[in-house]
């Protein structure tokens, strides 16, 4: 029994992964002892330095999608996947330009806090809190896929769902015990773990197997077939000139039939954006406008969606003042921008030297594992170095899904404990009761997230994160953006726009995801062996409808291009119709949102509010 394990599990990889997990837990416990009050739990007492906070924000922002998903998607889909890292970074900038400053000045801890404060409406808070959970669960699913993929790589005999359950349980426990204070420290450390784990292995790999440009150059359909069959033995120690593809020294193994061809992979409007048109059997020329539409909708979803992520905004309050918050954000831009240069390199190099992953399609054996598996290829030349670097990559993956899952868990638990319990169910509960509610809520949410995570084995990590962004972009983004910059907004206008945009986007995304889910499930069976219930589902899976209507499929899968404008339009129309409901002290609210913190308007506002 033991030798069986010893053969399949690489000790180095196991060690690095275990150390990451144990250190994370230890830090959680250590800081749990130091955080006692409820406000410590929610925003770390607002006492975190710029450097720590910038690392922590970056650590929380770089999820499994950034660490594993981008590389996997660049490998599976090529150029189009590059929109993801770019828009994740641009989205953060967008948040900085329009929303971060005002929200910080307003002093609301969470989006529901803001929703209530801006419109003086406890009812709206209850409505708004729903989306913390919707977006949160959509965002935890890909983290769970990352966890399942990583554990399946470390323990090849472990089923996907066991990995998901294990990681989910560990993180849930950690959050229930440590709270946010623990997470600030843990996440700052985890940023640097991720940065190290993504950069060092790829530098070594590129030094051995050829650099970024040289590997891209190999994706050239005019390359003679003989050069494509070059085995792994070519020496590349000499500096590599990259003027010519054949002399570059970048190794390439034969691509399996499931891999997209060079032309569609390397160029814009490739497999990711032409999926719907391809299912409709349109020609390459016919499908191009559809791809363009898909690309724009994706850009809108990702850029606007960042602003509506419930777990990112709360971080702006952990700075002592507005200027420190801005400096922090500058550092965050740099830290995440540098990070995002690396994952596409894994995808590009992986396509050439580990093409067998294309056969795993989007499952646990597929391209989502490229960041973890690619460094192990060094074993064939440098023995244990490959194992060590692969172990480092696994440590980074653990840091990625653990930090994001923790952050989301805190936000969602906060919503459940702070809003649903503390404000709706038991407004008179004591501080101790609230703390206990926080722990129970963490367990409930962690369990649901694990259950959902077990369903998404065959979805690409990055794709799922994109979907969560689209829902955030259609619900919270219009709410925040319009509430900050348009004073004539009313509660009913805001609620109508947010609910309509957000729920329609949610439905659209769920419909196409449901089709993908049923089709991949039934793909494992032939017509004879398929269970009856699955056959019924497949018959009703909308597959034929999407094939007949590619435009509908794109608009349903990537709804942001219509759902964001729809939400904003509804907000304007309904607000105009309910003009009499504009909060009477709107000028004061706008002042608090926009006037510099030094003027002390916030204190004045609170005093006035208390006097009423």
């Amino acid at each position: 029994m033991t030798p069986f394990l010893a053969i399949t599990v690489d000790p180095w990889i196991l060690t690095f992964s275990m150390v990451t997990v144990l250190v994370t837990i230890a830090m959680g416990f250590w800081s749990a002892r130091r955080s006692k009050t409820a406000s410590d739990f929610f925003v770390a007492g607002r006492s975190v330095s710029v450097g720590w906070n910038a690392s922590a924000i970056s650590g929380e922002y770089l999820s499994a999608a950034s660490f594993m998903g981008i590389a996997g998607m660049v490998m599976s889909s090529g150029y189009d996947a590059l929109w993801y890292p770019v828009c994740y970074a641009c989205g953060y900038l967008f948040l900085l330009l329009f929303i971060a400053g005002p929200l910080r000045r307003f002093g609301a801890y969470t989006i529901p806090d803001f929703a209530e404060g801006r419109f003086d409406s406890p009812l709206f808070r209850k409505i708004a809190v729903v989306f913390v959970l919707f977006i949160g669960f959509f965002y935890t699913m890909p983290q769970m896929k990352g966890a399942g993929t990583t554990l399946h790589y470390i323990f090849p005999d472990l089923p996907y769902w066991v990995g998901v359950a294990l990681v989910g349980a560990v993180i849930t426990l950690n959050v229930a015990l440590g709270g946010m204070k623990g997470i600030t420290l843990v996440q700052a450390v985890q940023y640097w773990v991720k940065m190290f784990a993504i950069s060092v292995p790829i530098f070594v790999l590129m030094a051995v197997y050829g650099n970024y440009g040289a590997h891209l150059a190999r994706n050239d359909k005019s390359t003679p077939p003989s050069a494509l069959y070059q085995a792994s033995g070519a020496a590349t120690n000499a500096p590599v000139p990259f003027s010519s593809a054949n002399e570059s020294g970048a190794i390439r193994r034969t691509l399996p039939a499931k891999a997209p061809n060079d032309e569609s992979w390397l160029n814009p409007f490739g497999p990711l954006t032409t999926k719907a048109a391809k299912a409709a059997k349109l020609s390459v020329v016919e499908s191009r406008p559809y791809s363009l539409l898909y690309t724009y909708s994706l850009i809108i979803a990702l850029v606007c969606g960042t602003a509506g992520l419930p777990h990112i905004l709360v971080r702006f309050y952990t700075n002592p003042n507005g200027t420190a918050a801005k400096r922090t954000t500058m550092w965050v831009m740099v830290l995440i921008g540098v990070f995002y240069l690396f994952p596409p390199m894994f995808g590009v190099v992986g396509r050439n030297i580990m093409p067998e992953l294309y056969n795993g399609v989007s499952g646990v054996k597929g391209t989502d594992g490229i960041v973890l598996k690619l460094p192990a290829i060094l074993r064939e030349r440098y023995g244990v170095l490959g194992s060590i670097l692969s172990g480092v990559a696994c440590a980074g993956a653990f840091a990625a899904f653990m930090s994001t899952f923790s952050g989301l868990l805190v936000s969602m638990t906060g919503a459940l404990a702070h809003d649903v319990y503390g404000r709706i169910l038991r407004p008179k509960s004591t501080s101790e009761q609230r703390l206990r509610a926080f722990k129970i809520a963490a367990v409930i949410i962690g369990t649901v997230a694990v259950l959902l995570g077990t369903l998404v084995e065959n979805f690409e990590i990055n794709f799922m994160v994109g979907q969560a962004f689209a829902i955030a972009a259609s619900s919270y983004f219009p709410l925040l953006f319009m509430s900050v910059w348009w004073r004539r907004m009313t509660m009913r206008g805001a609620a109508t726009g947010m609910l309509t945009g957000g729920l329609l986007a949610l439905v659209g995304i769920s419909l196409t995801s449901y089709t993908t889910f049923v089709v991949t499930m039934s793909g494992k069976y032939t017509a004879d062996t398929m269970p009856g219930w699955l056959a019924t589902l497949k018959a009703n899976s909308l597959e034929t409808f999407w094939a007949a209507h590619p435009l509908w499929r794109i608009l349903s899968e990537q709804p942001a291009i219509w759902s964001v404008p729809l939400a904003i339009t509804l907000m304007v129309i309904v607000s105009k119709l309910t003009k009499q409901e504009i909060p009477p002290d709107i000028r004061m609210k706008m002042l608090v949102l926009h006037a510099p913190e030094e003027l002390g308007l916030k204190q004045e506002y609170i005093q006035e509010h208390l006097a009423h």
């Binding site: 929109w83 440009g213 363009l292 801005k326 002042l591 003027l599 002390g600």
Partner: protein, 112 residues
């Protein structure tokens, strides 16, 4: 601590809020316009000039080099300019209010 009564009139005026929001929005929109233009135009360039965008530079197709590498420094530059300007803007706003207060009350007011 409360602001002196005379300063209050200045800060709470409609004009002050208007000017404040307009200045902030102008700065944000100007910065956003740069990266939105880039995000919007790149797919169009890919669509209408596929050959030019596929031109190889150090092994990279041009469009890959732009999107996968050069976009990030652009984001940093915009963020840096925005942060510098917006801190300066806030300082100027605070100074403006202080001066207005001093004119009306004489001694400088302390602020929380």
């Amino acid at each position: 601590m409360n602001t002196p009564e005379s300063g209050k009139i200045e800060i709470h005026s409609e004009e002050f809020l208007h000017a404040l929001m307009r200045r902030q929005l102008k700065l944000s929109v100007a910065c956003a316009a740069v990266f939105f233009a880039a995000l919007f135009l790149l797919p169009l360039a890919n669509y209408f000039f596929p050959e030019a965008m596929a031109m190889r530079v150090f092994g990279f197709p041009l469009t890959w080099l732009i999107l996968g590498v050069l976009f990030f420094p652009l984001v940093w530059i915009i963020a840096w300019i925005f942060i510098k300007r917006s801190i300066a803007l806030e300082d100027a706003e605070v100074r403006e209010v202080m001066v207005a207060e001093q004119k009306q009350t004489g001694p400088p007011a302390t602020h929380p």
